[in-house]
């Protein structure tokens, strides 16, 4: 069965307005043992979910513009005052006040470093990365947290300097729009659609 008229969503007047198909129906099949006895059935389905980024939406929007945003606690009475968080936290984990958005693109471009990494051929269903996958956990100077991402060029090593690249052409508006390459990588070596 072909997937036609895949569902899309807009928000109008504070409500989701959906258009197209959000599920597709496929016939089920019996499951039998070697004697031909019925044990069960398959239950196929194809469902499109709707998901809001809420207060994190600016982070994902800005990846498509080549910007890396973090957040900062600006509550002078909080123990975490001036702590910068990436992953982007809408609220400070200590005082729960709304954090201030900060642009750390330039800081990251000066060179973040690999805190740890892993390389695997294994993936789960719906994976879109080429294998082997190279995860890198990236440490930034003066930032309280260590961001997970994936390396698109070269082999990872603890301590290596990396810089962010962004999928600004045909962005997916997901975390996949952010990747990392070793510092000094040339523009021509970047994956299709990515730029510094």
């Amino acid at each position: 069965m072909s997937i036609e008229n895949r569902g899309t969503v807009k928000v109008e007047n504070g409500r989701y307005r959906v258009k197209g198909n959000f599920h597709y129906i496929y016939p089920n099949d019996p499951i039998r043992n070697s004697k031909g006895e019925l044990l069960g059935v398959t239950n196929p389905r194809d469902v499109t979910h709707i998901h809001t980024y809420g207060g994190e939406a600016p982070f994902f929007e800005n990846l498509s513009k080549g910007k890396l945003l973090a957040t900062k606690c600006t509550n002078s009475k909080c123990d975490a005052h001036n702590s910068i968080f990436i992953p982007y936290r809408i609220h400070c984990p200590d005082c729960l006040q709304r954090c201030k958005q900060v642009d750390i693109t330039a800081l990251a471009q000066r060179g973040a470093s690999v805190h740890t990494f892993m390389i695997t051929e294994r993936t789960g269903a719906f994976n879109t990365l080429e294998t082997p996958i190279r995860f890198v956990n990236v440490e930034f100077e003066g930032i309280a947290t260590i961001l997970m991402g994936y390396l698109s060029v070269g082999e990872p090593k603890i301590g290596m300097k990396v810089v962010p690249i962004f999928q600004t052409k045909n962005p997916t508006f997901t975390i996949m729009d952010l990747s990392w390459v070793p510092k000094g990588t040339s523009e021509s070596d970047l994956p299709e659609g990515f730029s510094f």
Binding site: P87, T116, I119, T120, A125, I146
Partner: protein
């Protein structure tokens, strides 16, 4: 920097003591297409009833509230599966609730039942856990498991939970393992041990007689972890009945004292912030001052190398049970060996060894039933069930299985429950000719650690024979 308040560090004080009365388990396997989940749950319950020579009806008559551990609704493809199980067990109209804390679901289910009894809400409670991971192929299963990571920040990357774990393994491997071949072999020894112990367990899914070389030659999953370093995906169920003192002694003449506590930490490892190491009773404030010098890169705590949730669960549980040094006060442990390397990390988190020195627990031979270096009983045998690597990881059932296993040692009935020919036949499995009774002789106290994801939830459950109760220190 995370700081804890005095109130947050309070050792829990329950209103009354809680006892473990009985427990049971189903067969565990990668797939059990011939049985519905409720059939497996009833298998576990019937074993628990038979263990104390009660009919199911009589045992049920004591149960007042029910706690159901079932992590993954999407694996089971049944929302409110707890209500289905509750009905099939014939326990309506008792109150019941589902518990979901990832890999720690089993432990958390016991934690909930424990509090229900300790508070006086129920005189006796059922904690039952199960998981059905065979109704999607492995790729889809990996995606489902990866859904337990952050759906926006992690899951889209590979849809592979092992990968989110492996970054921690890599850091520990380099910082504390120093990338040494000897450390890699120590990791492999854990898999050899646990797969080997699974051979003595009729419930176990993956019994294997293997060598260190077999582990080192198995396919790479994510360096340095190989296929035989990793836990199983399983189907099965397990349960325990907890009760207050009066009820417990009505049901059996030999109940065990139980203590249960929990800790947590960030779902995303990325969000971990630096802090001082919270100390356990067998550690000293200056013990870790030179940790970064001895292990360069190891001074960031918990960083990517420690499980703060496990440390906090142990901190609370040790305080509640009067444990000062797990090596001296416990006789066996069942740990959450999701991966060989995380098993070693846990030895440190729960104070079996200091941070940085986890490998010595294996290398000393003290984690074995019989220490291979001395031929004498291991000081603190670990995962004689086969653990998650050899026995099973039917997520909601795992933490409960661990407690049942520990209890059977303290009851002195491990051999009876694992050596029975009829059980091997019932499970369509062959009892090995060299089957060995792994009963820990004279076991009085034991510990089970149930652990979720990259350390988001961890429970510590301590069992103790009432004749060997320890005095609470504070």
């Amino acid at each position: 920097m995370i700081k804890f308040s005095k109130q947050q560090l309070k050792i829990p004080q329950m209103s009354k003591p809680v006892y473990l009365v009985t427990g049971g388990m189903s067969k565990f396997d990668r797939a059990i297409p011939e049985k519905r989940t409720e059939e497996l749950v009833i298998d576990a319950f019937l074993e628990a009833a038979e263990f104390i020579k009660k009919s199911p009806e009589e045992l049920k008559s004591y149960i007042h509230s029910c706690y159901y551990g079932h992590f993954a609704d999407h694996f089971g493809d049944q929302l409110l599966g707890e209500a289905v199980i509750h009905d099939r067990l014939g326990l309506d109209p008792l109150g019941n609730v589902g518990v979901k804390t990832g890999g720690a679901t089993g432990g958390s289910t016991i934690w909930e039942a424990y509090k229900a009894v300790a508070s006086g809400y129920s005189d006796a409670a059922l904690a039952m856990g199960w998981e059905r991971m065979d109704e999607v192929p492995t790729d889809e299963g990996n995606h489902y498991i990866a859904s337990a990571a952050d759906k926006d920040w992690e899951t889209p990357m590979g849809h592979i939970y092992t990968g989110y774990y492996a970054v921690m393994a890599q850091k520990y491997w380099q910082v504390f393992g120093k990338e040494e071949d000897s450390f890699r072999r120590t990791l492999a020894e854990i898999a050899v041990k646990n797969k080997g112990y699974a051979r003595m367990n009729p419930h176990a899914q993956s019994p294997m007689k293997i060598t260190v070389e077999d582990v080192l030659n198995s396919p790479v999953v994510a360096h340095p972890l190989r296929a035989l370093d990793c836990c199983l995906m399983s189907v099965g169920a397990s349960c325990v009945i907890l009760a207050d003192e009066e009820t417990a002694y009505k049901l059996t003449d030999n109940p065990l004292l139980i203590y249960s506590a929990a800790g947590s930490h960030t779902l995303r490892v990325a969000d971990r912030r630096n802090m001082d190491i919270p100390l356990l009773p067998n550690e000293t404030p200056d013990q870790y001052k030179d940790l970064g010098k001895r292990f360069p890169g190891g001074d960031r705590y918990p960083g990517f190398t420690g499980f703060l949730a496990a440390r906090m669960a142990a901190y609370y549980a040790y305080g509640m049970a009067g444990i000062v040094d797990p090596n001296e006060d416990l006789d066996l442990v069942e740990l959450h060996d999701a991966f060989t390397i995380s098993d070693i990390q846990t030895y440190e988190d729960i104070g079996i060894r200091p941070y940085g020195e986890g490998r010595t627990y294996v290398e000393s031979g003290e984690c074995y039933h019989t220490n291979p270096l001395t031929g004498k009983p291991g000081k603190l045998p670990a995962n004689l069930s086969g653990g998650l690597i050899g026995n099973m990881h039917a997520v909601g059932a795992t933490g409960i299985m661990q407690v049942v296993e520990v209890a059977q040692h303290i009851w002195g009935r491990w051999g009876e429950m694992h050596g029975d020919e009829a059980k091997w036949k019932l499970f369509n499995r062959t009892k090995p000719d060299d089957w060995t009774n792994l009963q820990v002789k004279g076991a009085k106290r034991g510990l089970a650690i149930s652990h979720a994801g990259v350390g988001s939830h961890v429970t510590a459950t301590i069992l103790m024979h009432p004749d060997h109760k320890l005095e609470r220190k504070a």
